[in-house]
């Protein structure tokens, strides 16, 4: 019976107008919620914007603005930034900040989204160590929050591109069922 109820729900799943899926996906990545707003899925746009941006800025605030930064050198390979970049535009100033620091220029916005001063030396006291001392567990928690925000937005990008996962699975199942039925009737007709 539970299975029957599920099927009922499947049939009632509303059709989704994805408009231009590629463009919507790009917008959804650049500004969380913007892709869904473009598709006129206003409720979802609000949910994604609030949840993703809220999580991202909450993490950034916990981490004193230092947990999102781009650094690709041997002693400080910030792989977490790849996940954080999933948030789109809000994480992009880190690229500008990184470029400035690498060229020995002062970072903008009072060090927010800027990498630690170079060189970063894991065996000695450096700028990154100062941040860890100052922020303690907040540095790791802020990093986690901002990473999760980026990864959540990747899910939202997929939703903007191809619609909700369940609806997608239902369509695939309906196509498979129709093909199976057609094959069955063809086999029956051949027997007769």
């Amino acid at each position: 019976m539970a299975e029957g109820e599920k099927t009922e729900s499947v049939v009632e799943e509303p059709p989704v107008d994805l408009r231009s899926p590629g463009w919507a996906a790009l917008l959804a990545w650049l500004i969380p919620g913007a892709g869904h707003y473009y598709q006129r899925r206003y409720g979802k746009a609000a949910v994604f914007a609030v949840c993703v941006l809220g999580t991202y800025f909450y993490g950034l605030a916990i981490g004193g603005g230092h947990v999102v930064y781009a650094s690709w050198n041997r002693t400080d390979f910030r792989w977490q930034y790849v996940c954080q970049l999933g948030v789109g535009v809000p994480a992009m100033p880190a690229l500008v900040q990184s470029r400035r620091v690498m060229r020995d220029k002062e970072p903008l916005f009072a060090d927010v989204l800027a990498p630690p001063r170079q060189p970063v030396d894991p065996n000695n006291h450096d700028h990154l160590a100062d941040w860890h001392l100052e922020l303690s567990w907040r540095f790791d928690l802020g990093t986690l929050y901002t990473m999760v925000a980026g990864l959540m937005n990747i899910l939202a990008v997929f939703d903007a591109y191809s619609g909700p996962f369940i609806a997608h699975a239902i369509r695939a199942k309906a196509i498979a069922d129709a093909a199976k039925e057609a094959a069955q009737s063809a086999a029956n007709a051949a027997k007769k």
Binding site: P14, V47, C51, M152, F165
Partner: protein, 69 residues
């Protein structure tokens, strides 16, 4: 007694930061799987309960181990 037990279970403030994170993850995950609000809400609630239950269970086991062993 209850306060000290709560203090033992939640010794630091960082664990409370988990609550908004789990709410956000549940909502986003639910919203990417369904289109109707009722389905999204139901799925999000189920997901949140499952995650909190799972974390609670393991926290309980770890607490029991640190207490008894």
């Amino acid at each position: 007694m209850a306060a000290s037990l709560l203090g033992a279970i939640f010794p630091a403030t960082q664990i409370w930061h988990l609550v908004p994170l789990m709410i956000a993850v549940s909502l986003v995950y639910g919203a990417t799987r369904f289109e109707r609000w009722r389905d999204i809400a139901e799925h999000s609630l189920r997901f949140a309960v499952w995650v909190f239950g799972f974390l609670g269970l393991f926290s309980g086991i770890l607490l029991w181990m640190s207490w008894r062993l």
